[in-house]
């Protein structure tokens, strides 16, 4: 299942629909890092609200996406991690270190806009 990526101003928004296979995640990763420069985006939001399970591969891929996008000159923020998922993740030691997180899409947009203002 492909993950839809929407463009909203200078921000790309990727919304996970449900549990994704490893292949889907890899595909999303290459798609995002390609699009982010082509569309001249300054920020990427990955919305995982619909995910009720986050395994180590998904967690690692999210971290890779964030780091790769930083190398491509944009910011990433992961939004919508569910409380239960967050707790399960830290228990597994998947803490998404060095990756910005926010409560939901709105917060994520506010975070990115704040960052853009600081840089501009």
């Amino acid at each position: 299942m492909e993950v839809p990526v929407l463009k909203q101003g200078a921000v790309l928004i990727a919304t996970f629909q449900a549990a994704l296979s490893d292949a889907d995640l890899k595909q999303l990763r290459s798609h995002l890092i390609e699009q982010v420069v082509r569309l001249r985006s300054r920020g990427v939001i990955v919305d995982v609200t619909a995910m009720d399970v986050m395994d180590s591969f998904a967690s690692r891929t999210l971290r890779e996406i964030a780091h790769m996008i930083r190398l491509r000159g944009a910011e990433t923020v992961i939004v919508g991690i569910q409380p239960e998922v967050a707790f399960a993740m830290v228990q597994l030691g998947l803490t998404l270190e060095g990756v910005a997180t926010a409560l939901d899409l709105e917060e994520g947009l506010a975070y990115l806009n704040n960052r853009f203002e600081n840089i501009a």
């Binding site: 569910q82 409380p83 967050a86 707790f87 993740m89 803490t95 997180t101 917060e107 994520g108």
Partner: protein, 304 residues
Amino acid sequence: MLRRDVVSRDLEMGAPQDSELVRSEGASELLRELVSHLRQNRTQLREEWTGRISETRLLTAMSNDEIFAEATSVYDSYVEALETGTFEALQAYARNLSERIIPRGVETHEVVGIVLLLRDVLARSLFAKYQSDFMKLNRILDAYEPAANRIANTVAVGFVQERERVIRQQQEAIRELSTPVLQVRERLLILPIIGVIDPQRARQLTEQLLRGIRTNRAKVVVIDITGVAAMDVTVANHLVQTVEASRLLGATVIVTGLSPEIAQTLVTIGVDLGKMNTVGDLQGGIEQAERLLGYKVVGLPEQA
């Protein structure tokens, strides 16, 4: 074929079964004799026992009169258990006694101690009585010892079970003192933790906090642990996990009120607190949270 087999086995088993029967009959007769001896010397033995109890400084939480009263009923239930070979009444009595004496701070070793003392006092009286007839003494002890040990066991287990029940009850009471997640400003939560944190409570706290962050759309959380006296590795790690999980939800956590003891413990056991944002007291924590949220507290100009 089958039947013959059974019959022949019965025949084979015949002899030992009989002797078993004889022996148990003999034992019960001996027990009867024993019980009547204990009944006859009730006053004297009981006094000797209470004397030994105060000598060894057991049950210091109770007055002598109380000890004597309890000793009387323990003695009677003891003899009754020896006589009937049933332990239910004694068990019930032990539970009841434990219920009364646990709140007064009586310890397990004291209860076990007094039961063992009674056992010894009675055994000594048996030694004295059957001194002349060594064989009989031996047989009496054979009958007495298993029953006496079982009684000691029953009382001790009853006491410990009662104690555990009390502890469980108290743990539940603590757990029910729910820890509130409070919103003090728009997007700022405080979580005051008071009392003992065990892994189960820590987990419950985390769940409540994460849910609170979501429902209140919090950006900053101040966890105040001024009221926490001690913390072990498990709980400290859990605290770190809570901080990380909150971050995954986009909230910053500030921990306040780490006591000197906890600070020492955490550093000594080497818990990684690098990810934790700590401030000395709750006031400081709230002030920092307000800075993070962009609030500024300004005093009102004095009213004329």
